[in-house]
C-alpha cells in the first residue's frame, strides 16, 4: 500500500528534500519540528507542522518516542528519519514497526548490527569484504617484526586494550618495530593494564570512497556507483564528488561488487552507503562502515545516475516492488557537491548563526542547490552548521570543476560567515584540480595554504 501521509522527523535541507519528493509522489507531509524551526522553509512547505518540542535536540529531534507519538497523532502511515539525529537509532525503527508506521529505512536489526563497529567488521569479513590488513595481539618485538613483514610496511602498532594514541607508534621498517615495541607495550600496560599490541597496515595515500546502494529487503541490492569524499576536516566531509576518477576501472568493479555482496547478504532494505578507504598506491580498498540511511551527499549520485533516491525510498517503504535493474542504472558525467556551512574558516571554523541578509544563488544551468535558506532566513544556533549543498554537474570532472568555480564566484551571500571562501580556494587549488589529494590533504596542506592565501 502506497504511503498516504508521511511524517518527517528531521529539519533543514533534508526535511525540505524529503517533503519535495513526497509531494511529487502525491504523498501528504507532516513535519515534526522543534520550536526553533517553526518558521522554517520545511514547516512552510509541509501540509502540517507539529511542534514536537523545544529547540534543544534532546527534547525534540533526538526523542524517538515524541516523534512516533506525533506521527501517530497526525495519522501518518510512514516516517522518514532523514540523516543524523534519530536516523540510525534502532529504537526509532523498532517503535515505528510496533506502531505499524512504515519506517523509511533499513530494518531495526540491520541498523543495530551495522551500528556496532565490531559487529559491522564481522559482517564485512563474513561477506569476504576486505578490512585493513592487521593482526591479533602480539607478545614480542620479534613476533611483531615477523607479522609486519607479512602485512608490508609502513604499519601502525596499536594497543589492543584501548585507544587515544597510548601505546601507538608508526613503523616504516623492522628497525622502528625493534626500537619502539617494548616502550609502547609498557605504555599500554600502564594505561590499560594490558601490554599487548597489534599491527595495522598504514595507508599513506588514502581516499575516502563510498558506494551508494539500494536494497529491496529481500536480498536484491542495486548500486549507484561510488563517491569520493576525501576532502575532510576532522572526519567531516566538505566536498563530495562522483565518480572517483582516480580509481582504476577494475578496482571500481570490485568495489561495487563488495558493497553489493555485503548488503545483499544482510537482505539490506532501502538506501545505504558502504564506506571504504582506498589505498591509492596499492590499488586496494578496505571496509570502514555502513551508513544505514540516506546520506548528505546523495545528490551527486542522483546526478550521475539521474535517479531520485529519496523518491525510491518512499516508494519502497510504501510497498512498491523494486523493479529497477542494475543495467537500468547508467552512470554518466561528473558531479561535485560543496557543503555550505555557516562557520568561519578564518576563525577556527567557529559557527556563525544569524540572519542571512543576502542570499542570491547564481542562476546557472547544471547546478542544483539543496537548502532551507532564502533571503532573511534565520540560522538557529542549536543545530549543525550546514545550511545548504551546492551541487554542479559536468560531462567530466574538469567541466564540473569549472562550473563549481563559477557557481561559488556568483553566489552572493551575506549576514553570516560561511565556508564558501575556503570551498572556492579548494576547488581552484592545483592539488584538488589534479586530483592528487588524500583524506589528510585538507588538514596538512589545504588549510595552511588557505591561512596564508593572498586575496
Amino acid at each position: 500500500m502506497a504511503i498516504s501521509r508521511l511524517f518527517i522527523a528531521n529539519r533543514g535541507e533534508i526535511a525540505v528534500r524529503i517533503i519535495r519528493a513526497a509531494h511529487a509522489l502525491g504523498i501528504e507531509t507532516v513535519l515534526g519540528s522543534s520550536a526553533a524551526d517553526a518558521e522554517g522553509l520545511a514547516a512552510r512547505m509541509a501540509n502540517r507542522t507539529i511542534i514536537v518540542g523545544p529547540a534543544e535536540p534532546a527534547r525534540s529531534y533526538l526523542d524517538e518516542k515524541i516523534m512516533v507519538q506525533a506521527a501517530l497523532g497526525a495519522g501518518c502511515d510512514a516516517l522518514h528519519p532523514g540523516y543524523g539525529f534519530l536516523s540510525e537509532r534502532p529504537a526509532l525503527a523498532r517503535l515505528c514497526e510496533e506502531n505499524e508506521i512504515a519506517f523509511v529505512g533499513p530494518r531495526p536489526e540491520t541498523i543495530e548490527a551495522l551500528g556496532d563497529k565490531l559487529s559491522a567488521r564481522r559482517i564485512a569479513e563474513a561477506s569476504g569484504v576486505p578490512l585493513v590488513p592487521g593482526t591479533a595481539a602480539l607478545k614480542s618485538a620479534e613476533d611483531a617484526c615477523a607479522a609486519a613483514d607479512g602485512i608490508g610496511y609502513p604499519v601502525v602498532m596499536k594497543a589492543t586494550a584501548g585507544g587515544g594514541g597510548r601505546g601507538m607508534f608508526f613503523a616504516s621498517g623492522p628497525g622502528d618495530v625493534m626500537a619502539s615495541f617494548n616502550k609502547a607495550s609498557e605504555e599500554a600496560r600502564a594505561a590499560f593494564g594490558d601490554g599487548s599490541l597489534y599491527i595495522e597496515r598504514f595507508v599513506e595515500n588514502a581516499r575516502h570512497v563510498e558506494v551508494q546502494v539500494f536494497g529491496d529487503g529481500k536480498g536484491r541490492v542495486l548500486h549507484f556507483g561510488e563517491r569520493d569524499c576525501s576532502v575532510q576536516r576532522r572526519y567531516q566531509k566538505l566536498i563530495e564528488e562522483a565518480p572517483c576518477t582516480v580509481m582504476p576501472e577494475a578496482v571500481r568493479t570490485k568495489l561495487h561488487a563488495a558493497a553489493v555482496k555485503l548488503t545483499s547478504d544482510l537482505n539490506y532494505r532501502n538506501a545505504g552507503t558502504v564506506e571504504f578507504l582506498f589505498d591509492v598506491d596499492r590499488e586496494e580498498f578496505y571496509f570502514i562502515e555502513v551508513n544505514a540511511r540516506i546520506q548528505v551527499e546523495h545528490p551527486v549520485s542522483e546526478l550521475i545516475s539521474r535517479r531520485d533516491l529519496v523518491a525510491m525510498q518512499l516508494q519502497l517503504a510504501g510497498g512498491e516492488p523494486l523493479e529497477l535493474q542494475q543495467s537500468d542504472i547508467v552512470l554518466h558525467g561528473h558531479a561535485i557537491e560543496c557543503r555550505v556551512n555557516a562557520e568561519d574558516p578564518d576563525q577556527g571554523f567557529r559557527p556563525s548563526p544569524g540572519r542571512l541578509t543576502t542570499w542570491q544563488p547564481p542562476e546557472m544551468d547544471f547546478m542544483r542547490l539543496d537548502t532551507f535558506c532564502s533571503e532573511g532566513t534565520l540560522i538557529p544556533p542549536y543545530y549543525d552548521s550546514m545550511i545548504g549543498k551546492l551541487i554542479v554537474y559536468g560531462n567530466d570532472r574538469d567541466e564540473a570543476l569549472q562550473r563549481m568555480d563559477a557557481a561559488i564566484r556568483r553566489f552572493s551571500l551575506r549576514g553570516v560567515m560561511t565556508n564558501m571562501p575556503l570551498q572556492h580556494f579548494i576547488v581552484r587549488h592545483p592539488d584538488f584540480r589534479n586530483n592528487r589529494i588524500t583524506t589528510r590533504w585538507l588538514e596538512q596542506t589545504g588549510l595552511p595554504a588557505f591561512a596564508n592565501r593572498e586575496e
Binding site: 502540517r48 507539529i50 511542534i51 515524541i66 512516533v68 495519522g75
Partner: protein, 171 residues
C-alpha cells in the same frame, strides 16, 4: 473515510467562505467537519450544547474558528491544527503542555476528570496527564487559583507549549 485530503478541506472552507451560510456541518462516515461564523454558535449538531460555565467568569465559551474541525487529529486532514483560539483574559495565566503527547483529563479511562471548570487548584494539583508512547506524566497546575477554561478535548494530541488550561490566580 481516511483519505480526506487537505485540498478537499481547503475547498470546503473556500465554498463556505464564499457563501452566505452561517454554519456548515458535514458528516461522511466517521469524518465530521463543522464550520461556523457565529462566535455564539451552539456548536455542531452532534455536539451536546456547552454547559453553562460553572462559575460565572470573564471567560466566554470558545468561539469556533472556521478552520477548526472537531474530528480527532488522527482522522483530521493535514490542515494546520488550530490551537484553541479563546483569547486569554487579562487576569488568567495559561498552563501549557510541557511536551508533545496525548492529553487526558482523567487519571484512567472512565474515572472522573482531575479538574472541572471552576475547580480550585494549587501549585501541586495534578490537572491532567500527557502520554508519550504509553508513558503517562501528570501535569501540575503550577499556580494557585481557579480553572477558567479547558483548551483541549480529552484524548487530543497536544504540541509542545500548547495551551491546556486558563487559570485565574487566587488573590
Amino acid at each position: 473515510m481516511k483519505n480526506v485530503t487537505a485540498d478537499e478541506i481547503k475547498n470546503l472552507i473556500q465554498i463556505f467562505d464564499d457563501s452566505d451560510w452561517r454554519e456548515l456541518a458535514l458528516q461522511v462516515e466517521d469524518f465530521r467537519i463543522f464550520l461556523s461564523r457565529d462566535p455564539d454558535s451552539a456548536g455542531a449538531p452532534w455536539q451536546t450544547p456547552p454547559a453553562p460555565a460553572a462559575v460565572p467568569g470573564p471567560v466566554s465559551p470558545p468561539p469556533a474558528p472556521a478552520s477548526r474541525a472537531p474530528a480527532k487529529a488522527a482522522d483530521a486532514p493535514v490542515a494546520q491544527a488550530s490551537a484553541d483560539a479563546t483569547p486569554v483574559p487579562d487576569n488568567c495565566v495559561v498552563v501549557k503542555a510541557p511536551n508533545l503527547g496525548i492529553f487526558y483529563r482523567s487519571p484512567k479511562p472512565g474515572s472522573p476528570p482531575y479538574v472541572e471548570l471552576g475547580a480550585e487548584v494549587n501549585e501541586e494539583t495534578e490537572i491532567c496527564l500527557i502520554e508519550v508512547m504509553k508513558l503517562f506524566t501528570p501535569v501540575h497546575a503550577g499556580i494557585r487559583g481557579t480553572i477558567r477554561h479547558i483548551c483541549v478535548e480529552d484524548g487530543d494530541m497536544v504540541e509542545h507549549d500548547q495551551p491546556l488550561f486558563y487559570v485565574e490566580p487566587a488573590e
